[in-house]
């Protein structure tokens, strides 16, 4: 199965979503079967289909003052925050060539994030009924996907930088009163996102047994 990797770097959320949709269309047209898009975002809050406005704790004018856009999007889940301190992976995979099982795909995303954390000596956890990855009772990775014609988009964001957690206080992440944490917070040392993104690519490769992917930098 073809598996292409796209490193977008620090990119506006809307541009990355547009890019996902273009890749989605290529996959739908059978140009290739799978793509993994890696990126970071400028600060943004997104509300999935389950998103409730009361889960944004500040007036929209406050978000505007902080330069944070709010987008309502087609993924599952409630509200979340994305910022430059996260490593984000958008797997655009054609499940027609894997397994047509929505929950299995979500669980695989959790497991590969747990595997990614374990390489740093961190024990990531799944909590039943609370999709995502947790370190003890704090959330470190959030998941929300959309599937159209059995092709996935949107994906998983992993909190890496300690100094990019404050904006979570603007919302109730996933509609819950929870604390977020990051890789740096747990390790108590600095981590450069650019230096660890290949670890995540490797986890996707191992999970999905793809052929060696072709990497495109843009």
């Amino acid at each position: 199965m073809d598996f292409r990797v796209f490193n977008l770097g620090l990119v506006d959320f809307k541009k990355a979503l547009q890019f996902q949709k273009e890749i989605f269309q290529e996959i739908k047209n059978n140009s290739f079967n799978g793509a993994l898009i890696l990126c970071r975002h400028y600060p943004v809050i997104t509300a999935g289909r389950g998103g409730k406005t009361e889960n944004i704790k500040v007036p929209l004018s406050e978000l505007k003052n902080r330069g944070i856009h709010l987008y309502e999007i087609e993924r599952g889940g409630d509200v979340t925050y994305h910022g430059p301190g996260q490593l984000i992976a958008y797997p655009v995979f054609n499940l027609n060539y894997l397994k047509k099982d929505i929950h299995l795909f979500l669980r695989q995303l959790e497991w590969l994030a747990i595997d990614f954390l374990s390489d740093f000596g961190i024990k990531g956890l799944r909590h039943k009924g609370l999709t995502g990855v947790w370190i003890d009772k704090k959330k470190v990775a959030s998941i929300g996907i959309a599937i159209r014609d059995w092709i996935t988009f949107h994906g998983i964001s992993i909190n890496i930088k300690q100094d990019d957690l404050d904006n979570f206080s603007l919302i109730k992440p996933c509609g819950m009163d929870i604390e977020m944490t990051s890789l740096e917070s747990v390790l108590n040392r600095g981590v450069e996102i650019d230096k660890i993104k290949n670890n995540l690519i490797d986890k996707f490769r191992e999970s999905y047994e793809f052929r060696k992917p072709v990497t495109h930098n843009s």
Binding site: E74, R75, I102, F105, I147
Partner: protein, 80 residues
Amino acid sequence: MAKVVLPELGEGIEKATVSYWYFKEGEKVNEKDDLVELTTDKATFNLPSPCSGMLSEIYFHEGDTVNIGEVLAVIEESQN
């Protein structure tokens, strides 16, 4: 008449929630048009229209829970 049925979505998935209808009752649809979006866990997914015709009846509305195998809607097929 073609029935729009909620298909198997994976092991252990028994139901999903209707999150968005792309068409209203009485509207024309084309085969493979996105008809309805549903949600399970942290995922949304679409059901395409199985044929071209008129969406004559919707049995489950936004917010309703649907079991696998249940009929969501009926389409009166075009006579082409």
